[in-house]
Symmetry: C2
Subunit: 484 residues, 2 copies
């Protein structure tokens, strides 16, 4: 049985660590910074993978698999890339009981192994575009780790594409940012701001990095996905050229884009409450749990039979459903257990429900004005549950959006006011920016907040603030926040 | 355009390497022994994964994910296990620009990281059985590598389970061997012999290892999947005990079982011919390719329109179909291309087919007595194609089984005859065995053949040979072959 949770308001970080353990999402391992993803957590990741993979394939991408190891010399080829990644790599120096002639780097990202290989595959304009994706594990030797949010090894997908022109590469970069946003909003019910990263937060080796930024319940931002226009940087580093229709040999333009198991952390911190996890139906391992309630063997047989009928009706309606018929655990403990694990809907079926041929549906998340508990006849149950789950999905997004908007301040110009905000309630602050990285760094040093993005048009304020926090004229609006 | 293939009869190994390249299944990488799995090859693996994953889930297993790295000390805990795997491990000695206090081993298999973790999860008989599976990459530093068959890094699944009794563990070990056999026969159309490995071929750390052995077209055996009853060896090494209902603390019994990307190699070598790959429909990225044929723009429009109608009819019938509407490539080159890539059925649609509202279906694999080319009306196309693909699937298994049986000799007792067989045509040879590993080793040294399995009952000969190849009395029948 799960222990009590630290309330979010008391210590959000303790709450997070406890919920990861108690909902059996992940646990620590004997290897520093590496987590074990437990079946319940892994099932969430599988549902994420399945939805994303469908979207990647629908946009013309194919999966492939490239080696785990990069020759050290390959990582060194792109100057900015190696500078960005070398400090956090894990190095294989020995294998097969011998010292390697050249050490191998465990991939922190795969550009440095993919590009030398693509140079063999790409010859002519007819070979373009190349639209690849890889589901893989990567390793970045992080100093401070937290389950899902920052681990030494993590699971992710990395898209890698090659194009004939910068326009096509830019279009692809933006398209995949859009795919991520759609996934985060429609599946995770996590609203995000999209926009451009400043140079200091750009992917090492990219021309431009775009990101999706969510706002967690502690008012800290989470960079949930990034999409990079890599320009011709990797093409030059690995000499990947194609012959144009006119017979010229031109470097290809490339992109890369990725999301990782970090999304599971984002899901937890977007919706969870003091009772535990809250999962949006589309990503819940069980959308519905049925708890049969009995006091004696006669009752047991009839409620289990009714539970089975409900299960089969829900199955037919395409609902992922689990019947909790564990012996030796009272219904209250089962309720507590599944609430902790964030199951969107619970169906209680006791002897009186069987008599009236109905079930009692209890929501994990109840928006204002809705009833937490509703009795519904067994007839038409499948369709009604499907409909209810669909509205839960919408309500979660709606609720998260309202919370995010409530924690957003626009038009901040006064630096003292901004500092107070960042040392206090946090959230997203829209401000001006002079465009200087020194100023960006000073604000970071003073407040621990960073520029999350230069927001895309639809997220921009109607009126941008005329001045940067430093008092200089702005080159544009930025979104600032403390972040994970 | 692909080059010619070396005929199988001339050099099977060259044929294999060429087909892997020409069908774009995999390519070499700059990292020794590591291959790149290209989209066409990876799609086959995805289809394999999907079928296997469904079967694992249907038998009650859940997926999870354990770290890539094992602390070196953990690998050392089980004596036979470390002796078996240490010589082929890759070792991380440095990370984050510092030397590690304890080197990390890149997993060659995950027992040594899973068991220390499961010791935290398992306390009582109520926690059993634990039924886990993991899809992951593993690394074994092999001296000689070949794409899919033996690579330094490979992709696989590894099941790991814990049970209260040896009987339950044995039942699980056998159940998963059966799942593998069903997959190999019903999806891969690759008949296999199942049975027990001798001690010398047992998994390092197991009590008993069972295997599925297929016979490739060059009459060499391929160990395609293994299932291990690990006894209490890992439970003892990592102190994993559970409390029984009587309050005793008892070591758990465990199993592990795995198949890998090696299966793709098995698929190639079970069915391929001198024209290239032959894929069973269930694992073909495209079950059908439609080739529209035109000579002028008018024809182009009508045949493409008919192709589109055929595509949509097949889609509705649940067939994976691709329309090859590439410009600048004549139909003959397209035929050649898709035959090389093993697509089970090709539909040709030319102006005359459009006129008669029909399509010409051409099989990649034609069993004796069947027509290679058949014209079929557009009406009812979906159902007919689905049916045809189903029979192609059956015919491939049937054909492979006949070939395997033709290359099987039973009751071999004379050692000279056996040596001649192994130095000549190869294949499976059923012989007796005295049970001595010295004798086993001598036969291996003399003939390069090994005991593949002590076959399960249904594969045993009606009459077992009374004597081992060495002349001593037999303890039972074994299947011998040269193997990959």
């Amino acid at each position: 049985m799960a222990k009590g949770l630290t309330p979010q308001s008391e210590d959000f970080s303790a709450w997070y660590n406890e919920i990861v353990q108690q909902a059996e999402l992940a646990s620590h391992s004997p290897v520093r910074g590496c987590m074990v993803i437990r079946p319940y957590g892994y099932r969430i990741w599988e549902l994420m993978q399945s939805a994303l993979d469908d979207m990647f394939k629908a946009t013309g991408h194919q999966n492939a698999y490239f080696p785990l190891f990069l020759p050290k010399s390959a990582l060194d080829r792109e100057a900015e890339h190696v500078e960005g990644f070398a400090p956090e790599t894990a190095i294989v120096t020995h294998a097969g009981r011998a010292k390697l002639e050249e050490p191998l780097v465990v991939r922190p990202t795969s550009e440095a192994i993919i590009w030398p290989i693509l140079s063999d595959w790409i010859h002519s304009y007819r070979d373009l575009p190349v639209l690849l994706n890889q589901w893989a594990n990567v390793v970045r030797w992080e100093m401070r780790t937290r389950p899902f949010l920052r681990t030494t090894e993590f699971l992710w997908q990395e898209g890698h594409t090659a194009h004939a022109t910068t326009e096509e590469a830019e279009e692809e970069t933006r398209r995949m940012l859009g795919v991520y946003r759609t996934f985060m909003e429609d599946w995770m019910a996590m609203p995000v701001i999209t926009g451009l990263k400043t140079d200091s937060e750009r992917f090492a080796g990219a021309l431009r990095t775009y990101a999706c930024e969510g706002l967690m319940k502690d008012n800290k931002a989470l960079q949930a996905g990034t999409s990079h226009h890599l320009g011709q940087n990797f093409a030059r580093a690995f000499d990947v050229r194609y012959q144009t229709e006119d017979g010229e040999h031109v470097y290809v333009w490339s992109t890369s884009w990725g999301v990782s198991t970090r999304l599971v952390g984002g899901l937890i911190m977007t919706h969870g409450d003091d009772d535990g996890l809250i999962l949006p139906p589309k990503l819940a391992p069980h959308e519905v749990v049925i708890v049969p309630i009995w006091r004696n063997d006669d009752q047991r047989a009839t409620v289990l039979e009714a539970g089975e009928r409900a299960r089969s009706a829900l199955n037919e309606a395409g609902v992922r459903v689990h019947v909790d018929d564990r012996e030796g655990l009272n219904p209250g403990s089962k309720y507590y257990d599944w609430e902790r694990r964030g199951v969107p809907l619970r169906l209680e079926i006791g002897p009186r429900d069987v008599e009236s041929d109905s079930v009692m549906a209890v929501r994990r998340f109840t928006p204002e004005g809705a009833d937490r508990k509703v009795s519904h006849p067994m007839a038409g149950l499948g369709a009604w549950i499907r409909e209810t789950l669909d509205s839960v999905q919408d309500e979660l997004l709606e609720g998260a959006r309202r919370r995010r908007d409530d924690a957003t301040v626009r038009g901040v110009e006064d630096y003292a006011e901004f500092q107070e905000l960042m040392h206090g309630s946090g959230g997203f602050a829209y401000t001006g920016w002079c465009g200087e990285s020194d100023c960006e760094q000073k604000v970071k040093d003073d407040t621990k907040s960073t520029i999350r993005v230069i927001p895309d048009e639809e997220f921009q304020s109607p009126e941008s603030p005329p001045r940067c926090l430093c008092g200089a004229p702005s080159i544009g609006e930025v979104v600032r926040a403390k972040a994970y």
